[in-house]
């Protein structure tokens, strides 16, 4: 499978037909992938979709059963983790409990035979970068979850990897810390110009941090693209449902809403709740539906409703909207262009 034009830059990570199975389970089932240098790349999918195995294949903890993996043009099949210029931030941080914070960060330098004075200085600099100056002598057990995460980050970055791998980096943090770390990771990635590859099952995390998102399902990549594209134009039913829980419409249902007769997706927040007597916007399709369920979600209410024809729709309407309760009949407008056709059948 060769592209017509040679790529302008060597991909940081390239997968060609990579397969990895565990017994009868095909955890990774023919993945092709090219991650550009300096890219913030997200691998998004439910658990068991193969995203973590792909990360472990890059790190070298797993070896492919078939296919080819390159890191900056270098073939890495058969190379152990300690011979690869990639480093990992582990989901449980994996800090060494018997070493101090400073010794943890200096560990990679120590096994490379760098002298104590140099590695102490470099560890100090790395800890300053993640805003943990002065914590060198603490034990990992004395740190909070957020601080441990930063130590893990400093420990991975201090050995200057070409690619940084992050396994569910924000999974164990509470909401406020998570938002803080999101912008910090993004800032760090931009400042260092490094390639970051991260695995997550949280679509909002993937959409907000990544330059590009690969959506995994059942060991395959079902869609790759910038967050806007993946969100706005889901390629398959799975992507539509998994990323932002879109409404999935059959061909005839799309046709009924004035769109081409093809399987399509419709984002809940695109559906407009019309006040009683309000005019239908230009070009929009009007649907009358009976509300079956309402859930309050802070800024919005998620309204589930069924039309007379049996079409079930979920709409996200402003939380301030009145008259929305189970059993009520509402008027919903679906603007032209909100119904997006999908290709795949998956």
């Amino acid at each position: 499978m060769h592209a017509h034009a040679a790529p302008l830059v060597l991909p940081a990570v390239r997968f060609a037909g990579v397969v990895r199975h565990f017994g009868a389970v095909r955890a990774v089932d023919g993945v092709d992938l090219a991650i550009a240098p300096g890219e913030f790349f997200a691998m998004l999918g439910p658990s068991g979709s193969g995203k973590t195995t792909c990360l472990r294949l890059i790190a070298g903890f797993e070896q492919p059963d078939d296919g080819h993996i390159e890191i900056f043009g270098e073939t890495v099949e058969g190379l152990p983790p300690y011979r690869r210029a990639v480093n990992t931030v582990f989901q449980d941080y994996a800090l060494f409990p018997h070493l101090s914070v400073g010794e943890n960060v200096a560990y990679g330098l120590r096994v490379r035979g760098i002298g104590r004075a140099d590695r102490d200085r470099m560890a100090r600099e790395a800890l300053a970068m993640v805003k943990l100056s002065g914590m060198e002598t603490r034990r990992p057990a004395q740190l909070s979850g957020g601080q441990r995460q930063r130590v893990a980050l400093a420990r991975a970055l201090v050995v200057r990897p070409k690619v940084l791998l992050l396994d569910e980096p924000l999974g164990a943090l509470d909401l406020k810390l998570r938002e803080e770390m999101q912008s910090e990771l993004k800032g760090l990635q931009r400042a260092l110009g490094l390639t970051f590859v991260f695995v997550t099952h949280d679509q909002s995390e993937a959409l907000s941090m990544a330059d590009r998102v690969a959506v995994f399902n059942e060991g395959r990549i079902v869609q790759v693209g910038p967050p806007e594209e993946v969100y706005e134009r889901p390629a398959t039913r799975f992507v539509a449902r998994f990323v932002g829980s879109a409404n999935v419409l059959e061909a005839r249902e799309a046709l009924a809403l004035g769109a081409p007769a093809r399987p399509s997706s419709l984002r809940p927040e695109k559906i407009v709740l019309l006040a009683p007597g309000a005019p239908v916007p230009e070009g929009a399709a009007l649907v009358e539906a009976r509300v079956t369920d309402v859930s309050y979600q802070g800024p919005v209410r998620r309204v589930s409703a069924v039309t007379g024809e049996g079409l079930a729709l979920t709409a996200a309407v402003p939380a301030t909207a009145s008259g929305v309760m189970a059993g009520a009949t509402v008027r919903l407008a679906v603007p032209a262009g909100a119904v997006r056709p999908m290709g795949g059948e998956q």
Binding site: A59, G60, F61, P80, P81, Y82, V86, N87, T88, F90, Q91, D92, A94, L95, F96, P97, H98, Y107, G108, R110, V111, R112, R139, P140, A141, R155, A156, V159
Partner: protein, 266 residues
């Protein structure tokens, strides 16, 4: 917190007394002037048995042999037991369960069976009895003790620690030395000490695997049959108590500290 009822306190004290008063009698009869039987109260007190022990070459030979056997068997157990634990703690392979059972079997098996089996095996293979046959006999159960301690600790060790070490550039040997060993060190110390203690006072397997050599327990056993100079055995027993008590105390303080550091994050 509720107070224990009086009956429970008395029972606890009685239990402790039952465990420790015999030890006091050992100490008491070190100093008796009566050498043929243990009469109570002792007819008189003397320090001469300490001098007798000091002068008897057979005692020192037995002590030396016991220390040598226990040291070699413990060392062997530390190396082989740790390797076996490393292989079986996490790996999944065909026959893993039977193999770990086979490892633990020697300690469950009565020593007399192990002893006879080894004696016959050595006989069939025409291996003459020596220090090394004793060491091999002891190693069968010493390995189990080290293995059990190491495997329990290894299973508690997060597998991502080993991956993190490899990820940061350490090869398998560096990972073992810098990450695995420090984290299982106290378990190995505890296992090693227990193995040493088991070997040091082993009688049954030794009886079957020793030739002319007599280890300290064998020497004591043969001494009890002799009617003269009985307090000499008591003096040796007290020395053994002193020698074994100190390392156990040291290990207790060492591991207590280690637990506090390694376990506080859990």
């Amino acid at each position: 917190m509720t107070r224990a009822p009086l009956s429970l306190k008395i029972a606890a004290l009685a239990g402790l007394a039952f465990l420790h008063i015999p030890l006091l009698f050992i100490l008491l009869y070190c100093f008796t002037t009566e050498e043929k039987s243990y009469a109570f109260p002792p007819p008189g007190f003397t320090l001469k048995w300490f001098g007798v022990v000091w002068g008897r070459a057979d005692i020192w030979a037995a002590v030396g042999l016991s220390l040598k056997v226990a040291s070699i068997a413990t060392l062997l157990a530390l190396v082989l037991g740790t390797l076996a634990a490393g292989a079986l703690a996490r790996a999944r392979f065909f026959g893993r369960e039977p193999i770990s059972l086979l490892f633990v079997l020697p300690i469950a098996l009565p020593g007399i069976v192990t002893g006879i089996a080894l004696r016959q095996a050595f006989g069939l293979m025409e291996i003459p009895f020596s220090v090394w046959t004793i060491v091999l006999g002891h190693a069968t159960f010493c390995i189990v003790v080290v293995y059990n301690n190491a495997v329990a600790r290894l299973r508690r060790l997060s597998p991502s620690l080993i991956e993190a070490s490899m990820d940061l550039g350490a090869d398998a040997f560096q990972t073992f030395r810098l990450v695995v060993l420090p984290n299982i060190g106290t378990a190995l110390l505890a296992g090693g000490m227990l193995a040493f203690a088991l070997s040091f006072d082993e009688v049954i397997v030794t009886t079957f695997t020793a030739g002319q050599q007599s280890t300290l327990p064998i020497w004591m056993l043969s001494e009890l049959i002799r009617p003269r100079q009985r307090p000499v055995t008591n003096v040796v027993a007290v020395l053994v108590i002193l020698v074994t008590f100190l390392p156990i105390l040291a290990a207790y303080y060492l591991t207590r500290h280690g637990e506090a550091v390694a376990g506080s994050g859990k």
